[in-house]
């Protein structure tokens, strides 16, 4: 199965800019389907970015984050070729992880 995480991490000088796009329904639990049945809440709760065994960014999300969430941030202390590990876990316990090379 292809990864749900697409990430681009680009190093420029001292800074590494990270953009991540994750495939996830992010169902809020407030919506109903065509038959009027409530679609149960299903959303990513925690998204973690690690570089050199150090957490560089942690997102705690509720169901108000848009479907197929996108996030962008920058951090210091990494160089081209370093590994950036990204992982998420949702409210049903599902999880996915990817390791990307910083470009």
């Amino acid at each position: 199965m292809p990864s749900t995480i697409r990430v681009r991490a680009i190093s420029s000088g001292d800074l590494t800019e990270v953009q991540a796009l994750i495939q996830h329904p992010m169902d809020s639990g407030f919506m109903t389907d065509a038959q009027g049945a409530t679609i149960p809440a299903h959303f990513i709760q925690e998204l973690t970015f690690e570089c050199k065994d150090k957490k560089v960014f942690v997102a705690d999300w509720g169901p108000a984050v848009s479907k197929d969430p996108y996030v962008k941030f920058s951090f210091k202390g990494a160089a081209k070729g370093d590994d950036l590990k990204i992982s998420w876990v949702d409210n049903k316990g599902a999880t996915d992880t990817i390791t990307a090379k910083i470009q």
Partner: protein, 163 residues
């Protein structure tokens, strides 16, 4: 309601929007170590369950009050045509930032996202939020243990007419 009826946004469009967000300034970033704050390694379940923004802020930060600050730059559209995907970002020149959070006051649960900013990470984040209807969006930046906020109203239109 406006919820998630939106059409899929093409990846190209998304990346275009993303790259157009300016790089975050580093000025004023202090390297002074500050005491590690407890509880930030845990998902703030309780805060996400609170209905109002005030209750969520209280649950997240204890009794601390946020002070409005022009050093917190909250970028959000004035009018969002699609409440399912509202691009919101925040940057700040405040020093020693440890967390950034986003609240949508009129959503069923106000807290939308909470970000832990470790030392060495630029205090700024861009993300996309859902908005049920026209509402204030509040960003709170935690700097040197104090809370600073910025608020903007985002009008959510339904079917492209009026707000």
């Amino acid at each position: 309601m406006t919820g998630e009826v939106g059409f899929p946004v093409s990846r190209r469009l998304v990346l275009k929007a993303a790259t157009s967000v300016a790089l975050i300034g580093l000025s004023g970033f202090s390297l002074t170590p500050i005491p590690a704050l407890a509880a930030y390694d845990k998902y703030p379940e309780d805060a996400f369950k609170q209905k109002s923004d005030a209750a969520a802020i209280k649950s997240l930060y204890g009794g601390k009050a946020a002070e409005a600050s022009d050093k917190v730059k909250l970028d959000a559209p004035e009018i969002a045509e699609n409440g399912a995907v509202v691009p919101v970002s925040v940057t700040t020149t405040l020093p020693a930032v440890t967390s950034i959070s986003f609240f949508v006051s009129e959503n069923p649960n106000a807290l939308a996202a909470f970000y832990v900013i470790p030392e060495g990470t630029v205090p700024g984040v861009a993300n996309r939020l859902k908005m049920q209807k026209t509402s204030n969006v509040i960003a709170i930046v935690e700097s040197e243990g104090k809370l600073y906020s910025a608020t903007r109203e985002v009008k959510v239109t339904v079917g492209g007419c009026g707000g």
